[in-house]
Symmetry: C2
Subunit: 289 residues, 2 copies
């Protein structure tokens, strides 16, 4: 089979053999934003044409390719749901040359809604290595905290941490005193610990400036401090509603930061280093057959 | 005397008679950012030259004109401090044609520092109408919450609420679905009440998007909701450390919003509609003589 994780800014496909082992891969900055309207079939053929020509017929896809801005909109599946339910909810996509299944995103229904698209597949890929009940954190532009029980996704919560960091760093008075600089682990941990104190995020963020003005935080360390402050607030809020240890999975940049923040907060954690999206698509394809 | 409130983006001067009553005023978008280096004496003469020519000699100034980017840097005075102490700490500024006194900003010293510049004078101007012990809120780009006791400024706390709103509204995914639209008081109050619930600000902010995606928040109401969310978080955090009623003073745009937020939270408040900066400068000049 072919497992495709097609997001807003990146495309990633893995060719798996019958035993589920990776045989080949293709990836690049060919996110859905680069695809012209109606251009998805051609874009997919351009990337994985040789595999299709070699006789591969089963393609599973996840990510923003299933959003309103993508190929076809695959409606959100509400929590709670199992991997088998996610697989059954996958949409067939008309395509000449293969049988494509598109995994839906998931939603928390009700008056306090939440949504994810792409992360549900990563969670599905991690379920096999998680304990029966677990708290999972997928750091990102919009981090996801997911509660797992008995092989099902029970609930999840998004935090706009990465995007808020970018907006504050680039578009507030803080921008003036935050040069590009190497990560400062001590300033980061200081920010994380500050998040645990009273005062609230909006006050703490102003504090980054006051620390600079009073000579207690060098400009070169200010971005690390702000990053720690925001990640610390995210973790504190998420753990009010979920039990440690925190199972971490995701990119090579953010996972170490979140791990360091959890250490600074004395919260036990486990890092999972797997290709979760591919494994999730494989698990769904297997459940389907 | 002449009372001058010279901020980052605005200039405002009031001519007061011997009894402290306003006789004339000059104001405009001539903030310190519009003044070239070394140009402050000329800029001041351009604005209030006629009053000086008519024999006025006493000028009191407050605001960012006393910052590193202003005319002369007037070092921050630490809390706690009285109006008389603020007045005594005012710096003499060399100027041909008048005796200028520049009010310093104030700071909270220590490892959790805070700073304000300009607002200390507004607080001084409000002290006469506040009870002996009071919680004062000056909404703004960087809102200030000030604790007053026995005629002194005991402590204060800044919240970057206004600026965070601008950054989120303009530079995150929320921007795509927040058209310019009239204020929606119901959506605003909904945001305020959401702030009281668990989850944290970073999660609640993502919720604004999820509410839109699930059809529960019209795009035209999204900015009002976000504004309520942020102001609600500010108020909740500030009141963890200060007692109501909240005394509100400031601009005609933000004070009604904060008043509405306090109503939505069932927190008693009092609105003060006075020219606090001018009154503060007058009180300091009087304490000086």
């Amino acid at each position: 089979m072919i497992a495709v994780d097609w997001g807003t800014t990146a495309f990633r496909a893995v060719l798996l053999d019958a035993a589920g082992a990776p045989r080949d891969r293709v990836e690049g900055p060919w996110g859905i934003l680069t695809v012209p309207e109606g251009g998805f079939p051609a874009a997919l053929r351009e990337r994985i044409g040789p595999w299709l020509a070699a006789g591969q017929r089963r393609v599973w896809m996840c990510g923003m390719v299933g959003s309103r801005q993508g190929w076809i909109e695959a409606p959100y599946l509400p929590v709670p749901a199992s991997v088998a339910q996610l697989a059954r909810a996958a949409m067939g996509v008309p395509f000449d040359g293969a049988e494509i299944r598109l995994v839906p995103g998931m939603m928390v229904p009700g008056q306090r809604p939440d949504v994810m698209r792409g992360e549900e597949t990563k969670v599905a890929g991690l379920l096999g290595t998680l304990p029966a009940a677990a708290t999972l954190c997928l750091p990102g532009t919009h981090s996801k905290w997911v509660r797992i029980a008995d092989g099902r996704i029970l609930h999840f919560e998004s935090h706009m941490t990465g995007e808020v960091f970018g907006a504050l760093r680039g578009h507030t008075i803080l921008a003036r005193t935050m040069p590009a600089a190497p990560h400062d682990p001590d300033a980061f941990a200081r920010g994380v610990r500050r998040a645990r104190e009273p005062g609230g995020l909006l006050h703490h963020v102003f504090g980054a400036r006051a620390l600079g003005l009073t000579g207690q935080l060098p400009d070169a360390s200010a971005a690390s401090y702000l990053s720690g402050l925001l990640i610390g607030h995210e973790i504190a809020a998420a753990l009010a509603d979920a039990a440690p240890p925190v199972h971490l999975a995701g990119g090579a940049t953010l996972v170490p930061l979140y791990a360091a923040a959890l250490v600074a907060l004395d919260v036990p954690h486990v890092v999972h280093d797997v290709d979760a999206a591919t494994e999730g698509l494989r698990a769904m394809a297997q459940s389907w057959t």
